[in-house]
């Protein structure tokens, strides 16, 4: 069964801060779902290739060219960011 320590590790990888109550709840719930996934152990899959897409599509290419810009799009996108400065996204220090 997945341990609380493992859940904390996964949460950190997923960049989600958990409260103590959430940790208890999620450990139980994740364990239940992972337990359900065990049903796949019954299936013999060695003869088949994994399916990567529902519809067989070859690589789709397009020319790397500049399309007409939508006026004001850059500023509309920036307006949706929590913090900006001089037309850039602003982030906190990484260290």
């Amino acid at each position: 069964m997945i341990s609380p320590k493992e859940v904390l590790h996964i949460a950190k990888l997923a960049r989600i801060e958990l409260t103590d109550a959430e940790l208890v709840k999620f450990q139980k719930e994740l364990a239940g779902v992972l337990d359900y996934f065990e049903i796949l152990q019954e299936v013999e899959v060695s003869p088949v290739a994994p399916m990567t897409h529902a519809v067989p599509l070859e690589n789709v290419y397009r020319l790397d060219e500049c399309k007409a810009k939508v006026d004001g799009m850059a500023s509309r996108l920036l307006e949706m960011a929590p913090e900006t400065k001089d037309g850039y996204l602003k982030v906190k220090p990484i260290l």
Partner: protein, 471 residues
């Protein structure tokens, strides 16, 4: 006006029996009366609909031709972008997000002259089967307000059932169109993967997500599907596809497969009864019916939730408190911002799925979970291909359950996942499937799921139109 089909509305609008503006007022009369209870809409867009109506009315006044969908009130699931309108995806983290552009489907419908009446409620980021995971409250079932409308496109299905909109757009990753359609007694189509552009749909699981129509009749759903499908340069997985209605369909040539795996333990007997009765009516009308088997269907749900959560963990990495949406302000460094923004503003089911997917993709577990699930997907594809050599369509119930009580399945996530038992196989393989209302058990709608071969939406609609006359 509530009783009209698209075609009837079109004729009456052209003949000036009413104006497009009056259509908007009629929709909003219902929204004002009903939506305080139903909660189908997160953001009604009356001003937008009125502005669109004005354009249509001016065209009619100038005696210009109008497209079939002009003046049709349309609700849009709130994970699909409509330019200039708030788009929350049912999440606190996007509570104040304004869509900076149209999704391709929204742009196509806008060109057809539909009237966008509002953005509808959904499980947060499409994750759920009841809309109970919405940060904006549950959508209630129009047939019984103590019960759920289904999910995740619950608001879209409820809005159509309650005549708040004539048609709606939903998105279906594992049943999110077909299930609420069945629960609300309306028609819903999950198209073949790739027939409808996903550009501008807030992604949950990209290899499974597909936008589709919800409507009161198969003919109306068909009209919306025809308008939204086709190749889009902005979605590399979209297919060069043009819809053509079947003109020579004869039910006598139809071979129906009934998958025994869809009638297993756990299926409510009342649902089995109605679904079998509908299939029997087709048989009486001349169709041949035979039992088929999908031996790997019982593994579909586990494979689905591994693939879904894996793709979720990647897709939802973009909600980081930096680029858009809400940001926790307490953090001193970048990592704190990530951890706290996601910890604070994402809901429980979203966190659960991100963590499950992170686990399934993490070092040492990839082969056991993700790779295995992708191989099960191939086996399921073989099952369907084998079945489709003998039959044209496969039928069964969309869900083992009737609309359930609000709160009945929220305690344990697995009990909610089981609601998707019969809908997820189709998404794993990319097939089209339609849910059609076929009766009422204890006053609650019962649906029938019709699954087709890839790109045979036209056959699904033809069968559905015949069935509407039979049941």
């Amino acid at each position: 006006m509530d009783e009209l089909t698209i075609r009837q509305l079109h004729e009456k609008l052209k003949n000036k029996e009413f104006s497009a503006e009056e259509i908007v007022e009629s929709s909003f009369k219902n929204i004002e009366q009903k939506d305080a209870n139903l909660n189908a809409f997160i953001t009604p867009t009356r001003e937008l609909a009125l502005a669109q109506a004005k354009e249509i009315d001016e065209k009619i006044a100038r005696a210009e031709q109008i497209p079939l969908l002009a003046g049709v009130p349309c609700a849009v699931k709130d994970s699909i972008l409509v330019d200039g309108v708030r788009c929350t995806a049912g999440s606190k983290i996007l509570e104040n997000y304004i869509a900076p552009y149209d999704a391709t489907v929204a742009q196509k419908l806008r060109k057809e002259g539909v009237l966008f009446v509002g953005k509808t409620n959904l499980d947060e980021f499409n994750m759920g089967a009841s809309t109970e995971n919405s940060a904006f409250g549950v959508t209630k079932n129009p047939y019984d307000e103590t019960r759920v409308a289904g999910g995740s496109s619950g608001g879209s299905a409820a809005s159509v059932a309650a005549n708040e909109a004539l048609v709606a757009l939903g998105a279906d990753t594992g049943g999110s169109i077909r299930l609420p359609a069945a629960f609300c007694g309306v028609v819903g189509l999950k198209p073949t993967y790739g027939t409808v552009s996903r550009h501008g749909l807030i992604a949950m699981a990209s290899s499974l997500d597909q936008i589709g129509p919800i409507a009161k009749t198969a003919e109306d759903a068909e009209a919306v599907f025809e308008a939204i499908c086709g190749r889009d340069a902005l979605d590399a997985t979209s297919l060069a596809y043009q819809y053509e209605s079947l003109s020579d369909f004869d039910v006598k040539n139809l071979r129906v497969g009934v998958a025994k795996e869809f009638f297993g333990e756990g299926l409510m007997p009342q649902i089995a009864e109605f679904v079998k009765a509908a299939i029997h009516k087709l048989e009486q009308a001349g169709a041949t019916v035979q039992e088929i088997s999908l031996p790997h269907a019982k593994y579909a749900l586990a494979a689905y939730y591994i693939i879904n959560t894996s793709e979720v963990s990647a897709n939802l990495a973009r909600f980081d408190g930096i680029r858009y949406g809400k940001s926790a302000s307490r953090g001193q460094n970048l990592l704190d911002i990530y951890l706290q923004s996601r910890g604070e503003y994402l809901g429980a089911e979203v966190k659960r799925r991100i963590m499950l997917g992170t686990y399934a993709l993490s070092a040492g577990y990839y082969d056991a979970y993700y790779l295995k699930a992708q191989k099960v997907r191939t086996l399921l594809q073989h099952d369907f291909a084998a079945a489709f050599t003998d039959v044209d369509v496969i039928m069964g119930p969309p869900s083992p359950f009737l609309p359930f009580k609000i709160g009945e399945r929220t305690e344990d996530p697995l009990t909610m996942y089981l609601v998707d038992l019969y809908t997820v196989p189709v998404n794993l393989v990319g097939l089209p499937a339609l849910s059609l209302p076929v009766g009422y058990a204890q006053g609650l709608p019962v649906g029938l799921q019709i699954i087709g071969k890839p790109l045979q939406e036209n056959l699904l609609f033809a069968v559905a139109k015949d069935l509407e006359k039979l049941v």
